[in-house]
Symmetry: C2
Amino acid sequence: MPLIEILGLVAGTITSITFLPQVIKVWQTKSAKDLSLMMLLLLMLGVVLWLTYGLLIMNPAIIYTNSMVLAMSLILLYFKLRFK
Amino acid sequence: MPLIEILGLVAGTITSITFLPQVIKVWQTKSAKDLSLMMLLLLMLGVVLWLTYGLLIMNPAIIYTNSMVLAMSLILLYFKLRFK
């Protein structure tokens, strides 16, 4: 695998786990007051578009990353609506 | 410009402004308690790697998006450390 694709996958892996600490924090504190609902909605919209873009240009790093971030953002949206 | 690149730029534009509502919310409430510091650090690390990747493959959507998200994440990190 070319070094450039490895860099893309490392970047993708870090971005994929970026929202995991936030999911854990909200789960533990049961508080999502300071999280912006608009941020979560924009995050999801952006990620869906990136996923489409990644599929069209067949870029594995973009596809993989945005699938993971989509999952995390759905969980955060659920928490935001549940815990306020 | 090919349609695929336009999609990438639209996705990039939405992701670029994703963290703006969060910046505004924290600025207005002066509270960043529910924001995860680890999330912000991972966000910045990921974004720096994506920026490098984007520069290496010369992908304008990736370069543009990640420059914007890097700026937003620096502001959020400052707020997180200032407002706790």
